[in-house]
Symmetry: C2
Subunit: 138 residues, 2 copies
């Protein structure tokens, strides 16, 4: 596998599977993490605000929010000042899952990179950051 894109495809798939597995044990699916991340930082955001923060689209957040509502992780409430807006609020269950989900992800990270030295890890982080910056520009 000499091709870098192929390596990324492979890593992404494996990491995503492992992440979904690790988070699933805490009642959260991998796709819901971006919404949780945003709401953990600031509760009561609207779908469009979350999408803008995380570089996704509004329909993605809306659909994810619907699944999370069915799963009892968030509730929708209309904005009292602007009837176009819908605000998403975490349920107690979603709030309390925060630490365990974070720890599960951190543990997975440690496991996946266990064969890398601290220096290699830092290089990896740096390389990924550079690629992100490069792709976001264009």
């Amino acid at each position: 596998m000499a091709e870098l894109l192929g390596l990324f495809t492979r890593v992404s798939k494996l990491l995503r599977e492992a992440t979904d597995d690790a988070m699933g044990r805490h009642g959260v699916r991998v796709g819901q993490h971006i919404v949780l991340t945003a709401l953990w930082e600031q509760d009561g955001l609207a779908p469009g605000e979350i999408a803008r923060r995380l570089g996704t689209t509004t329909p993605t957040i809306v659909n994810t929010a619907t699944r999370m509502e069915e799963a009892g992780l968030v509730v929708r409430r209309p904005d009292p000042a602007d009837a176009r807006l819908v605000r998403l609020y975490l349920t107690p269950r979603a709030r309390s899952a925060r630490d365990s989900v974070r720890e599960a992800r951190a543990a997975l990270e440690r496991h996946a990179t266990a064969t890398l030295t601290a220096e290699e890890l830092e290089h990896l982080r740096s390389a990924l950051t550079k690629i992100i910056a490069r792709l976001q520009d264009s």
Copy 2:
């Protein structure tokens, strides 16, 4: 973005978008690349064989093959010796797209990693390979 998993999620999404864009200009979608890769190496493989080679599932290959058949990239033909098997064959169009698709992917790779030194690139490749090996074991 201190979290490595978050970096990977971001890179994957950006790279996947850019790849689909680059390949789309040659009439091939990003999800079809794994099937093409397998058939470019050996034409006439069955869905199950492709899935085993590439670490995906048979339904994924079957569905992708259906879309590729509609797009005129492959044809299905029954195996003469084993009626359970269906063999996938590239059309001339898919065969001739090989070089341009490869070059498009290579160009994207060069573009995405333009701000990395040769040494950084080698480290990145090595780190990704290590992570893949680590995750495949478990």
